[in-house]
Amino acid sequence: RVRKRPTKSKPVTESNNNTSDPQLCAPYISDIYEYLRKMEVDPSKRPLADYVQKVQSDMNANMRGVLVDWLVEVAEEYNLVSDTLFFSVSYIDRFLSRNALSRQNLQLLGVSSMLLASKYEEIKPPEVENFCYITDNTYNKEEVVEMEADILKTLNFELGGPTVKTFLRHTSNLQFEFLCYYLAELSLL
């Protein structure tokens, strides 16, 4: 299930008064997009398209789908902004492109990725214990924190960079914007 409404989003009407994003300052817009594009195509920051076949032996694409679907709910439960959700999924895919993981640890990777994405993006990231609780205490704090360190090493601490969400901004049509958000979230699955 993908949500029918987009995740918490900046008050759209307000930012639409002028066509540009209030936080993206005009002199840098072209520099920024050029830089984002460069990051986006950098192979070292991209997941493999076929890692499920190539790298993994114990998981399949369905399991990934179930995990992402569940993370959407977690993001909703803790009121996380949608950038955090998109970052989480990106960390998961980049991690799984480099490390084989048993299916038992897939959910652990999911919560630890979301913990990291929250620390990167949120003003008040949820605590480690919130992420344990949401897994019905399947994993303890030590395991979540260990996996976090594992992800940081695999990703070489490179947590920024563009996701689909980064490019979803400037529209003047609310309906169109919401449709874009919906499609972007569908594309996570």
């Binding site: 993006e121 601490f157 947590l159």
Partner: protein
């Protein structure tokens, strides 16, 4: 860069890997895979931990190591470290301190930086400002180049102050450091209200404007520029910085800051006329004074950007 991370065998269990990665041993040494860093000097002590000047036992390289302690290992890596390291990974520029290595352990992390000599606050204190006009100009230009680079990479520093700006003494090169409060801008996030340090905090932040942007860094640069001229923080000792800002620059009105009256907090401030800045910052060239005024423009929308500031007449020669 960051070779130590790739050298690690991912089939080991995590705990053993962390142990291999860094062992902080006795005798003031950071051990690293058999090699170690000898601590030569403590450069700085802060609430987060310490900055040491160290020499590598094998290569003899001098580095600066910032050791950040975690309050509680069960929270994992603090978000300030997560941001600082991942943002510095994205920033490689001569005017931004370069991060050479990250050595993690369970309760602290060591960030290994290129060597740092002294920060601008020490320089200002020891020399009562930056009196040589050409050095002052060069420092300001380098700070602006570094800030423009950050902004073009979608990163706000949010804590620019003389203490976070380092000087490579031998070549007089400026290095912007301390990205613990930095973050990407342009997301959905409303930004937190209270960075940076009060003396360098932009008026829109005092007024609780949540959509602040790159302008807050430029305001801080303006404050630093002024401090280089007069040798002390431009606002001086005050418990109400916004009042002090208005005393110096004049209380804004709808005319020079459209929308100012919409801020609920604004109504409580007295109306001041602007001071004559050429007396406040006597000794500054007229072009410099003009640029300073553009950096200390109250309305963030009209404040000069780093990119544009670099094209200012002050830097013509």
């Amino acid at each position: 860069m960051a070779e130590e991370i790739d050298d690690i065998d991912y089939t080991d269990n995590l705990f053993m890997r962390l142990l291999q990665c860094t062992l902080c041993g006795q005798n003031n040494r950071f051990n690293y895979e058999g090699f170690s860093y000898k601590i030569l000097q403590t450069i700085e002590e802060g609430i987060y931990g310490r900055v040491y000047r160290c020499r590598h036992s094998a290569t003899g390289d001098i580095v600066a190591i910032k050791q950040i302690k975690f309050d509680d290992e069960k929270i994992g890596v603090p978000s300030s470290v997560v941001r600082e390291v991942s943002l510095l990974r994205a920033l490689q520029h001569v005017n931004i301190v370069s991060l050479l290595k990250v050595l993690t352990k369970e309760t602290y992390v060591n960030l290994v930086f290129e060597p740092l000599d002294q920060d601008l606050s020490h320089y200002i204190r020891d020399n009562r400002g930056v009196q040589d006009p050409s050095i002052r100009k060069s420092f300001l230009r380098q700070i602006l180049v570094g800030v423009a680079y950050c902004h073009a990479h979608k990163i706000l520093h949010r804590d620019l102050k003389p203490k976070n700006i380092w000087i490579d003494n031998s070549r007089m090169i400026i290095k912007i450091a301390d990205f613990g409060l930095a973050r990407e801008f342009g997301g959905d996030m409303l930004l937190t209200r209270y960075p940076p340090n009060r003396y360098y905090r932009a008026p829109e932040v005092f007024l609780h404007c949540q959509h602040y942007s790159s302008g807050i860094d430029l305001w801080s640069v303006g404050c630093i520029f002024g401090e280089m001229v007069i040798g002390r923080p431009i606002l001086g000792d005050t418990c109400d910085e916004l009042d002090a800002i208005f005393r110096m620059l004049g209380t804004p009105s709808e005319e020079n800051w459209p929308g100012i009256t919409q801020f609920p907090l604004f109504g409580s401030y007295a109306i001041y006329n602007p001071m004559d800045l050429s007396t406040v910052f006597s000794g500054l060239e007229p072009e410099g004074l003009e640029l300073l005024k553009m950096l200390l423009c109250l309305d963030p929308k009209r404040r000069i950007s780093a990119e544009t500031a670099l094209k200012h007449a002050y830097f013509k020669d």
